[in-house]
Symmetry: C2
Subunit: 266 residues, 2 copies
């Protein structure tokens, strides 16, 4: 049975795509089958895997604009790793979708039509809270929020959580926040430590609320700044293929481990 | 006579807002009067200056939705430095604007209605090529493109330049690209140097074309990674107020100098 995880943050450049690519690769290395969905019209996740657009093959645009089944868009990119690629047409999808009454639920319906058979679906989203992101939130089981521990991280988080709550209340009752993942973390800075502490306190204080984040954790695993993570995609590789001994590889492997432990009976 | 400069890049987190804030502050320190326009519904530039939303005062939302004059939205934030603040309503503006035939030209008309009287207008844009960005491109005289020298910088740039060309051809004939500004530059990395070289070669090769970027420069000034730049806004300060001796202050001062030299007769 598939677990669908959305990687969401409306703030730009916080590590969503880097996380989608390398967490998926780490889960596959741990023996899970994973499909990645590139919901960003800028298509970076698709480019990370060197995906060449095949105009004969259905893509997420066809899912959103023509009710094609999500499962029919998948292309294999590695052992146990599949990709539902983005195309620039996705930018037009938002305008087309806006016309439909069920515009927030197209992806949800596509999944129901033909459920994916992999263990995980990992969605990479654009830096906005528009229709593509809302469609993702409406179909996901859980959310991972990458956060760069800088000024405004908490502000952006508060706004994001409001949106998640609205989706959970009106479109997707099962939706929960699995966790917060600190990315591009610079261990030496005061700012980083202060923001991490602020965020941890926020979630501690929310433990008894009836919200989709009441059980959200701040992942113990943090992804440290590591130039190897920025270099890997320019070679068309995951961090594990590019530099298995790097901090980047280490951090994403630990994250995958911590995530899988969430599903083991205690 | 005002020079309107748009800070544009659809890629997230490359330093647009940090550049809008600190370049504006540096120009003001050099004796120029500057107004900053926050075109991002996430309103980070407004938050950088600690701007509290005043519901009695006109904002960019009113400019776009009710044809209020841009010049009537300005609030002073420092000596010679004014801000046209964003509000979350701006997210709704894109949907409202979509209905109008002149949806790309509302900001242009607002400027024509009542031209700003400052030396510079600096526009901060969201990470997208949607209506807010197109409106900005349609009113700007010139563009500065912040670029993080990572994989996909050149790809994103190519797509951005296509959009700029379309706007210049159909909506704003005077539009030019002033320059490329490398941000978050890490001097030690091979990746950074390779991307900078690739981008410089691209512009060298375009020198004789009839494009809006034929005379674009890659700024000599690069903005190095400097945690002070991330810390300053959390104290509600510009980099010059926060740490005038930092690399961040140094780099943005040099940039302002280099930019002002572009306007001096040779
Ligand atoms: N831990 C890290 N250390 C160093 N560089 C990183 C790290 N994580 C990501 N990067 C680099 O930083 C840039 C931004 O990361 P990424 O594209 O993953 O963010 P994003 O949230 O997906 O951005 P967008 O909002 O534009 O979709 C990329 O060039 C990426 O390679
Ligand atoms: N040269 C730098 N060194 C270190 N940190 C920086 C630098 N420039 C910007 N930052 C920090 O990196 C983060 C992203 O920068 P910024 O918000 O300016 O980018 P942006 O392009 O405006 O992002 P968005 O696409 O979300 O609008 C911010 O937390 C900022 O403080
Ligand atoms: Mg991304
Ligand atoms: Mg910004």
């Amino acid at each position: 049975i598939v677990t669908a995880i959305a990687i969401i943050n409306q703030k730009g450049g916080v590590g969503k795509t880097t996380t989608a690519a390398n967490l998926s690769a780490a889960l596959a290395a741990a023996g899970k089958s994973v499909c990645m969905a590139d919901l960003d019209p800028q298509g970076h996740l698709s480019l990370y895997f060197g995906h060449e657009v095949d105009h004969n093959h259905a893509t997420l645009y066809d899912v959103l604009a023509d009710d094609v089944a999500f499962a029919d868009t998948l292309v294999p990119v590695r052992d146990k790793l599949f990709l539902s690629p983005s195309t620039t047409d996705l930018a037009a999808a938002e305008t087309i979708l806006a016309e439909r009454d069920d515009r927030n639920l197209i992806l949800q319906k596509s999944f129901a039509l033909k459920p994916p058979t992999q263990d995980f679906v990992i969605f990479d989203c654009p830096p906005s809270l528009g229709l593509l992101t809302i469609n993702t939130l409406s179909v996901a089981d859980e959310i991972i929020i990458p956060l760069q521990p800088h000024f405004l991280a908490l502000q952006g988080l508060a706004k994001l959580l409001k949106t998640i709550e609205l989706v959970q209340q009106h479109l997707n009752p099962k939706l929960i926040v699995r966790g917060i993942l600190f990315c591009m973390y610079e261990t030496v800075t005061r700012l980083g430590r202060d923001v991490v502490e602020e965020v941890r306190d926020f979630f501690e204080a929310s433990r008894n609320d009836d919200t989709p984040w009441a059980k959200a954790r701040v992942f113990q695993s943090v992804i440290r700044r590591n130039i190897r993570l920025a270099e890997a995609p320019s070679h068309g590789k995951t961090i594990f293929e590019y530099d298995a001994k790097s901090n980047g590889a280490n951090d994403y492997a630990l994250l995958a481990n911590e995530l899988l432990n969430c599903y083991r009976p205690t």
